[in-house]
């Protein structure tokens, strides 16, 4: 099933985001082997060159490691993965809190609502 991608943003940045998310959320575990560029491109229904570019970017920032003969692995550096995860969470929270404040909720209200939502 093709990946859902926005039509108005560059494809390669969206691929980087998506694979990063899969790594950070544990779908690809630290140290595990990633599918080949070709396999993932076919799954995502995108051009293999674009997928290659996304992999290169993830390698550049250290999230993926290339073994000369054996494909690509997710990094074992769990600190790096956690840091990325925390940054992403912070982004989500900033957006959420911003919107709740637009609705004029106080900080205590927001905490209440979160607790109720989690309990559901």
């Amino acid at each position: 099933m093709a990946w859902e991608l926005d039509a108005d943003r560059p494809i390669y940045t969206q691929l980087v985001e998506r694979i990063q998310m899969q790594i950070v959320s544990g779908i690809y575990q630290p140290g595990s082997k990633l599918p080949s560029v070709r396999e993932l491109a076919a799954e995502a229904a995108v051009n293999p060159n674009t997928m290659q570019k996304a992999f290169a970017e993830l390698e550049r920032c250290g999230l993926i490691v290339t073994l000369r003969t054996n494909g690509r692995l997710v990094t074992e550096d769990t600190d790096m993965i956690n840091e990325i995860k925390q940054n992403q969470a912070k982004e989500y929270l900033d957006v959420f809190i911003g919107k709740m404040k637009e609705l004029n909720y106080t900080e205590n209200d927001i905490i209440d609502l979160i607790n109720k939502a989690i309990a559901r």
Binding site: A2, A7, P10, I11, A42, A45, N47, P48, N49, T50
Partner: protein
């Protein structure tokens, strides 16, 4: 020979009034999937025919792998026309034999695998197959060759969305870094995520040759949306 296709000052005039291609200069690299886009009458088919050596330029030149269109280029160019030229009375396996005879680089095994994967009975006659299935057979024949340049003219028009997905997946998985695929289509939105680059043609002239991601970045919209803007009627 790093560039696959070199087009220099190319023009094709059918008569004094009809110029189908007008002074085009363009170089196509290897290992890319390139969309050839433009309104009807913009010269796509004329360009494709000249690349295949089916039409001769009135001016300028085309070289593929350093050769002018001829036997050397035809051995390295795989063409999927928008209208089938295959014999309707023949059955699928006879067509496989025909291709096998004709093209040294044809892989009968690969073609057979793809046909099996689609549950297409090789003994069925082409004329008994549905339009969509016929298109898939044609595509399989073409993609089972090891060409340097694949020219696909409207490979996904007139088929259902699931068949389109299959066709695009076949194109992606048969992709080779040494080969280039030139894909002419009107269904831009469906294929743009599969394309590296696009060519826009208008009135036989080159309007644009850029990567999909560059266009999205520079214009903040999809190639489909940008095309509609550029070619608004």
């Amino acid at each position: 020979m790093n560039d696959l296709v070199e087009i220099v000052g190319l023009s094709k005039a059918y008569d004094e009034r009809t110029t189908a291609i007008n002074n085009m200069t363009l170089t196509l690299p290897r290992g890319r999937i390139i969309g050839l886009l433009g309104p009807n009458g913009s010269g796509k088919t004329t360009l494709i025919k000249m690349l295949n050596g089916l039409l001769v330029p009135t001016q300028g030149s085309i070289k593929i792998n350093g050769f002018y269109p001829g036997p050397e280029t035809k051995a390295k160019v795989a063409y999927l026309p928008d209208r089938t030229y295959l014999n309707n009375a023949q059955c699928v396996s006879e067509l496989l034999d025909y291709y096998n005879d004709f093209y040294a680089d044809f892989s009968r095994d690969r073609a057979g695998e793809m046909l099996t994967g689609l549950n297409i009975d090789p003994t069925s006659k082409m004329k008994t197959l549905s339009k969509g299935t016929k298109e898939k057979v044609q595509l399989i024949l073409v993609m089972s060759r090891s060409a340097d340049l694949y020219i696909l003219d409207e490979p996904i028009a007139g088929v259902d969305p699931a068949a389109r997905d299959y066709i695009l997946r076949t194109i992606i998985t048969n992709y080779s870094p040494e080969a280039t695929i030139l894909l002419a289509t009107h269904l831009i939105g469906d294929i743009e995520s599969v394309l590296d680059e696009v060519i826009f043609l208008r009135y036989g002239q080159l309007v644009l040759y850029n990567s999909v991601d560059n266009i999205r970045m520079q214009h903040g919209k999809s190639v489909d949306a940008y095309f509609r803007e550029v070619f608004a009627c």
